[in-house]
Each structure stands twice: as C-alpha cells, then as structure tokens.
Symmetry: C2
Subunit: 436 residues, 2 copies
C-alpha cells in the first residue's frame, strides 16, 4: 500500500462537494490524485474495497488535552471546584511527567485513530514528548503548552513557560505531522501582561493562539467584577483577537455583541458539547454563531471531563443538544454537523489547504465507516447515519497522508495487548500517587 492505490466506498463524501454513490479515491504519494465514481475510474492500481461503507475525511478534534486520558473517570458527578481541587489538580501535580505523557498520548492516539480522528488541537504539558509520539505514529497535531500564572507540571513560573514555548516554536519545520502553537490557559488564570506576551508570540511566529474562553458563569462573574467587562469584551479590549489566528475553545457564555466580535475578528471556535454538558458549564450559542458565519469546529475536551475522545459522540451530542435547547428540530442539521467535524474543523486549525475535505491535491487523510452493522441498516442518507446512528467503532479504515493507521478494523501502530498494558500502567501510577 505504498505509492499508488485506489479506495472504493458505497458512498463517498468529499464534503466540499456533493456525495458520490459508489465512489472512489486515487491516492498517489500520500495525496489525493483523483476523486470520482468507481465506474469512471480507469487504472490498474491496487484496489482497497471498503464496501459497504461511507468514505469521508478524517475527523478533526479542535480542542483537547490528549494526555488527560490517564484520569479518565477518576472522579465524576462532582461540583466543578471539588473535581478540580480534590482530584484533577493533585493528581496532575504529582503525576504529569514526560514518561507519563508519552504513555497517555499513545493510548489516546489509539483511541482517537480507532474512532476516525486524524488531527487535534492540543493544550497540555511536555508537548515536545507529545510531538515525538505523534510524529512516530504519523498522526497530526497542533500542540501548545497553556501559559498560566500558576505553577504547572512543566514550568513553575510564567517566564519559564514562555521560554519553553519559544524553544518549541523553534522546532517548527522539523516535523511532518506536528506544529507547535501558543496557548493561553484562560482569561481568569493569565495576567494582562501574560495575555499580551502570548499574543505577541503567536503573532510573531505566525502560529495559532489557543485559549479557553467564557467556559463557565463563574469565569464571566470573575472577569466582570475584576475588569468591568465580559470575557470576550475584555480580551478584545486587549487586542488579543487582532492580527492572529485565534482559536477560542468553549465560548459558552457569549452575548450577541460578543458573537459579533468573533465574526468581525475572525475568531474560530472549538465547540465541546459533551464536556460543557458533563461539567454543567452551559450551552454555547452555536446556532447563532453559525448564522453569523463564525467558523466552528467540534471537540472533545480532555477525557477527564467527557470521558472519551470520540468525535462521533460529539457530532451526535452537538446535533441533539442545540435542537432541544433551541426547541427547533431543524437546527444543526446532519450535513452542517459533519462539516463542523471535518472541513470547518480544518479551518479552525488553519489546515484547510491540506485536510478536512477530499479534493485533488490535498493530503490523503480519510476514513471508511462500515455499514454492515444492524444499527446502520437500512441506509437512505449517509450524513444522517454519520450523525444520528454511527459509532466510532464503525470506523474500519483510517488513512493519514496515505498511510493506513487502521486497516480493516485493526490499528496498525499498536498491538492489542499494549493497550491494556498502557492502561494498567497508568492506573498503577495514579493509584500510588493518590495513596501518598
């Protein structure tokens, strides 16, 4: 499966164009060389027949903390502050070291690839380790350490954090699958000085600036009390959205005029429906953002608040949540939601020239979803099935840059036994740390 091969699907969804029944893709040197109807294909290349199946671009997770899988389900159903204060922060403080990040990352990429995800926008610590794991597997990520005015596992002072980020940014260009960006943790955890410094770094290096914005009502209250402005107004007054590719995660509590600021400044949004539901943060006004043509992608957030990295589940939750909250069953139709998980996600990451849709010249990043499952029969509309019936476990093939990372249902870069070993090893470390 090197060089050239053609992949055949029952339904091919290029996303940028109409879906094709009995469609096929020609892959040449890791790129898409041809897209069309199978019967119009004329060549003698090796054929991978994935039917009965839906073919589509890989899914793009626009906001996550990948390594946090080590805390998956450690504590749930708690008030946010108790959850962070009593469980998440102590465990992170004691445990997050390069070798743990390496193990957690490998386990998490196994989960994400298995479910059809092909690229992430990540905020966490020891990102140079994450970069090695991603590059070795041939997954894709924009990685940044969240600058913050508190001690963290990878830096104890903001200045050290900035030094680390500057070092990472120097590595850009050396990797095929990784780009280092800049992240600011949140309006309430960064001083004005730090915010401006992070913004300048992202601007000077021409990389995305990634930040948690307006996630909770507590944040809105704190920022309003301290600065007399709501979070988005406050960031805008500091010029944080100017001359930079800004990725705002969450953006739950926005008024209409704040959505307008997003529109005017080209702020891109990473929508995390399940994390916002589980932590009871609120419901982001996504339908209003879409009306204003704000670019919105989907995201899982970290597995500590989800508790998985499953983009199919996010697609479904996004489609269902906004319908019932808006009391309108026409909101967030299936086609729009699939676009958010693919092409619009690539726009959030600034990678739309390479991934997010199946077009000649783009990288061969695509998946096949198997339809020979009772919950996917009969099929009338592939978009409907992807959002309202398919599961991540239906993904049978995953290609990134033309390389199969999942092949006929099996991950190619990890043994099944290793998954359990990684999980058990992470659990042992957590249990020991919590006993101390």
């Amino acid at each position: 499966m090197v060089g050239e091969f053609v992949v055949r699907f029952s339904y091919l969804l290029p996303i940028a164009e109409a879906s094709i029944e009995d469609g096929a893709l020609l892959v040449r040197d890791g790129r898409i060389a041809w897209v069309g109807r199978w019967k119009d294909f004329d060549g003698d290349q090796e054929v991978i027949d994935t039917r009965p199946s839906i073919g589509m671009p890989t899914l793009i997770n626009t906001h996550t903390h990948t390594a946090m899988v080590f805390l998956r389900g450690l504590a749930d159903d708690l008030p946010l502050f108790r959850w962070l204060q009593d469980y998440i922060w102590p465990a992170e403080g004691k445990l997050v070291k390069p070798e743990l990040v390496r193990k957690a990352y490998k386990l998490a990429i196994a989960e994400m690839v298995s479910g059809g995800t092909g690229a992430i926008n990540d905020m966490y610590f020891f990102q140079e380790v994450a970069a090695e794991v991603i590059e070795e597997i041939g997954f894709r990520g924009i990685l940044a350490e969240g600058l913050i005015d508190f001690p963290t596992p990878s830096f104890s002072k903001p200045k050290e954090g900035i030094r680390r980020v500057e070092e990472q940014l120097k590595l850009n260009g050396r990797f095929k699958f990784v780009k280092f960006g800049v992240a600011l943790h949140a309006p309430y955890s960064c001083s004005k000085e730090l915010l401006k410094k992070g913004h300048a770094l992202a601007k000077d290096h021409g990389v995305p600036l990634h930040m948690h914005v307006a996630e909770t009502l507590d944040e809105v209250k704190q920022i309003t009390e301290k600065y007399g402005k709501r979070p988005v107004e406050y960031l805008n007054s500091l010029g944080l959205f100017d001359e930079v590719h800004f990725i705002a995660a969450h953006s739950v509590h926005l008024k209409e005029h704040e959505i307008q600021i997003y529109e005017e400044k080209g702020v891109r949004v990473a929508h995390d429906p399940e994390s916002n539901m589980k932590l009871a943060s609120g419901v982001a006004p996504i339908p209003k953002m879409l009306q204003r043509n704000v670019t919105v992608g989907l995201a899982t957030d970290g597995a500590a608040s989800n508790n998985d990295l499953d983009m199919f589940s996010e697609m479904r939750s996004a489609a269902l949540l906004h319908k019932v909250v808006g009391m309108d069953p026409t909101l967030m139709d299936a086609r729009t939601v699939v676009e958010m998980a693919t092409l619009r996600g690539s726009e959030v990451l600034g990678m739309e020239k390479y991934i997010g849709s199946l077009e000649v010249g783009k990288s061969a990043d695509f998946i096949a979803v198997s339809l020979d499952r009772p919950h996917l029969q009969p099929i009338y509309d592939p978009y409907s099935h992807l959002v309202y019936a398919a599961k991540s476990s239906d993904v049978s093939w995953v290609f990134i840059a033309g390389k199969p990372l999942k092949s006929n249902g099996k991950l190619t870069f990890i043994e099944e036994g290793e998954i359990l070993e990684l999980g058990e090893s992470l659990k042992r470390e957590v249990m020991e740390a919590l006993r101390e």
Copy 2:
C-alpha cells in the same frame, strides 16, 4: 453451555448490591444460582472468562417502536409535523404489513442484543408477528398495539383495534419471552371512550397500560384547550392511572403537581432523552421525578426519531442532558443512570422479580462489556465507564435466560450477511413505496 456454567468478570455489578471486583456468576438451568467473588467460587463447572470486562444485567428499553428501524434516517432535521405528515405516516400507511414487521423486528433485535439490550416495552402494529420473532430468538418483550381513533396499518377502526388486542391478550401464557399488554396512543389521539376502554382492558387482564404522555408543547396546548386540563391532570381525572400498572412514555411537560400525581398513583416513566432532543420536544423533569421517587427507566423510542436503539447512548445522553439543563454536575450520577437502564427499567415493565439485577433465583439475563479498548483504559470506576465512555459495541457477551445471544462479540442467532440482506430488502420496499 447448557445446564450449569460459571461466568467470570473483572467487575461484576449486581446492581441491587455493591460491585464485586473479580466477580463471577453461576448459571443453572437459565437462572442465577450463585453470585460472588471468583476466589470464593468452588465448583468444576465450565468457565466462561469474559475478562477484562464489566458484568451487569441486560439493559431494558422501556419504550420503543421496534419495527420502525425500516425508516431509520429516511428524514431528519425537519419540523415534527412535516416529518410525520410528509414522510413517516405515508411510508407507514403503504408499507407496514406483517412480513415487513417480521424483517424489521429481526434486524432491530440484532441491533438491540448486539448493544446489550435484553428486554423491551414496545408499541406498534402486528404484534403477533413480533411475538413470534422474539420467542424464536429468546429475546424479551412486552408488546401492545397502540389503540387510536385513526385508521392504522393493522386496524382501521378503534373497535377492530380493541378486538385485535383482546385476541392478543388471550395468547398470554403461551409464550416464554413475550407478554401482550395494552397501549393507548396518546391523550390527543384517543377519545375519552377509547381511553376508558383501554384502561379497563389492562386492568381486567392485569397487564401494563402503555401510553405516550405530555410529549410536546403542542399536545399540552391541544388538551388544555379542549378539556381545560393539562395532559396528566386530564388522564388523572378520567381515572386512567387507577388500579393499573401505567407506563407513561416521554412525560416531558409536567408541572410539579403533575409529578406529584405520578408519585401518588405509582405511574412509571419511560424517559427518551435522545428522541426528545432530536424532535426538540423538550427536556423531561427527570431529576424532580427521582426526588419524588417516581420509578423512571430509560428508552430509545423508535429508530425513526433517534436514529438507533442504543441504550448506552441513552445512558450517556440522560446523564449529560440533565446536568447542563439543571446547571448542576451532580445531577444524574452514573450509578443512578445505570440503575435506570437496568433495575428501575425492570420495575417500569413490572418484571423486577425476574430481571434487572443479578440476584440468586432471577433469570440469567446479563451482559459482559469488554475493557480491552483504548477508550475504556485506564478504569477506576465501572459505573463511570458504562455511562461516560462505553459504547454498545463494547458489549461482548449477552445472555438471556442463560442462553448466549452474543458470544465473544458475535451474534448467535443471525448471520452477518443476513443483516445486510434485511437492510437492503427493507430499503427496496421503502423506495418503491415512496416512488408510487
């Protein structure tokens, strides 16, 4: 695997009692003969080792229209009335015949068993056909045709419907896995006379009375305008909840005093979070019902409005939806949600003496959920994983009355090829009918 065998799990959740690490179940003649720690088991019976796994009772779907899988995804993202009027009713009117119901039922049971569901409460047409399919497979169902003042595929006048139901009720006792009940479609689609007749039938035969109640705001408006009472008040004024086992599906639009009526009358509720979300019906006040000790189970509704019959997905949606709507992350904790999908579901169906928990003497209806998947590692709390991370595809074993219907990942009662055949055959029939 007949007679006696023991099944071993990493975590065994009997539900009625605390979970057991490295637990086991002894099955004898289709019943549970022993439950405990593996190391305390003393016997030489055949051992089925499902580890790494969670063992738990089968899931119970308390409200569905099973055969509607033939319309899965035919039309979505539409206003309710257009959806029903332009797609669902015409397709049903032309297509729903005994042979279609038989095919659809088999496909749907394959889906449900594959995802760990072991019993349903069903409202649809030609239920004597459904009974044959269920009995042959050894699945479980309470079946009823929804009495209604409109022509339906299986009866054209309410009187005929009542005659059909009376015939079906006479069959009770002949089946091992099926019980016929009585269903009334909804307050807005049944006359007072029909409501009273249905109630009398259920009461006289000692079977559950199943009904859609207060599903939409439109229904509340219609009933209030016509009778000067809200739906639950209206049904209560007619004595519909008295001296009968009443199963109220949906129950989205209830005021506090109506929840109190449910509590006082012992009305049991089938909660359909995903259907209510997708059709934008509203959010049922489940946390308030639970506070009042109303018995609430979970349900998928039909696959035309979901679009699957996946109880894992419903568990997750129920847990997440009520947290964000109530702005309280402690609502609908994982343990409560798993109980709703199992033991409380069995109480909704009136089958708690036989299924819903793993206790000596109950029927051997249980499942194993495999943990050797990246999205289920590491594991700290099995309840948390079941609700927030597991998928129906993680179910590796399903036993009903001690018989394996899913065995190490494979359905035992249907060939893989038959699933696709059933799906394609149903699709052909639908497409032909819609072209006419």
